[in-house]
Amino acid sequence: MQAAKKEEIFPKDPNKTYSLMAIVDGDSFQVEKGPEDTVQSWPHLMVRELGLFLLVLAVILGVSLLFNAPLEEAANPQHSTNPAKAPWYFVGIQELVSYSALLGGIVTPALIVVSLLLLPYLDRNPKGTGVWFSRDRRVATILFTIFVVAMVILILIGQFLRGPNWHLYLPWSN
């Protein structure tokens, strides 16, 4: 600590009734801590950010060494694959399309995007901000969870339970 130097940094003042008795080595509660509970971005934030980047890079490299990206035969417009599936993130919509082209393919995705865009302007109560699953926002949490679970289930059905001609089949049956 810089304060613990040899020279007398707090000279005794004869007009005062108190004096500095000793300097104790060590951190006080206020070291590295601003009045609003803040810390310096460098190094506290940056080191964490760098660490996370290295972790992400390592995981991606590890996965890439272990698993090869799929590559099927060359595209052949004359011969369609059966079933032909959209990329996994659109397979949920494809599943909906199999029930109704207009409702599942256009209306539902459009409704999802519009509701997401309007969400912060409709749900304006500031209660519960900054807390995971706040009790003050139980309805919002439940509604959003239903949306997420529905999306995941649709994707899982489309990706794993749909066989030739989009018929239901079990992944382990041929």
């Binding site: 810390v39 310096q40 060494l65 060359a74 990329p87 393919g105 912060p120 500031p126 901000t129 900054g130």
Partner: protein, 247 residues
């Protein structure tokens, strides 16, 4: 400073220090000043505030999901740039380029794997990031508009991934994009026009490959980078990451 300070000998002696000073543009200061300058004196770091709230550092609050999405974007830009050296957006050559990456190009398989898996991961992590922002109520005022930008970033991520899906020109790519673009044609009245605009024809072919390629390597990455810049800037302007009000 005396004339001798400008002599060649002195200049050579001071070379490392002068180069360092010319890059960092600052002299020495107190530890606190140095740490602050490390952030705001750096072009790449200055989007950060000099000090951050401890809540922003809590791994259990953000899980780093937004940051992971951004890192995946960076990895995708870097690996995608390298892939561009080996790829031709032609129905004759695209698939052969894939085979070359697999069997001829040094580390070509790894390069393609990195790009492919990062792309899938980015879609997933952007979605998880959105879930985090929802469940912590972080879209509430004053962060409403940043949520809106985030929704557009999600859409751009999906389109980036979808346009990239066609480029290997294998059966998986061809029929997935055929199915995907057919969904657009279910739109009332405009449907077939939208699909024609997307594919440059009535079915997936050379024109579609070129359109998807240009969107994938130029238009959408530029849009994504711009929106990312606004997204990060708005975090600062809206007062940093959200946190409980009574801290």
């Amino acid at each position: 400073m005396s004339e001798s300070a400008y002599s060649i000998k002195e200049s050579i002696m001071q070379l490392p220090r002068n180069i360092k000073a010319s890059i960092s543009r600052r002299g020495e200061g107190t530890a606190e000043q140095e740490r602050a300058a490390a952030v705001f004196g750096n072009m790449f770091l200055h989007v950060h505030p000099v000090r951050v709230h401890v809540n922003s550092l809590r791994a259990g609050y953000t899980f780093g999901l937004g940051l992971i999405s951004f890192y995946l974007f960076l990895i995708l830009v870097a690996s995608g740039l390298l892939l561009m050296f080996y790829y031709t957006p032609s129905t004759e050559l695209a698939y052969r380029n894939m085979k070359d990456l697999e069997y001829v190009v040094t580390f070509g398989v790894i390069l393609r794997n990195v790009h492919r898996w990062s792309a899938h991961a980015m879609v997933a992590f952007v979605f998880l990031h959105m879930c985090r922002v929802f469940y912590t109520g972080s879209y509430k005022a004053p962060r409403e508009f940043n949520w809106v930008i985030g929704v557009f970033l999600l859409l751009v991520t999906l389109f980036l991934s979808f346009t990239g899906y066609l480029l290997p020109w294998d059966q998986l790519a061809f029929w997935a994009v055929t199915v995907g673009s057919n969904i657009a044609s279910y739109m009332p009245v405009l449907g077939d026009y939208v699909r024609f605009l997307m594919l440059g024809g009535n079915e997936v072919g050379q024109m579609a490959l070129l359109r998807f390629y240009v969107l994938h390597v130029v238009a959408l990455p530029l849009l994504a980078a711009t929106l990312l810049g606004v997204h990060f800037w708005r975090i600062r302007k809206d007062g940093g990451l959200s946190r409980p009000s009574n801290d």
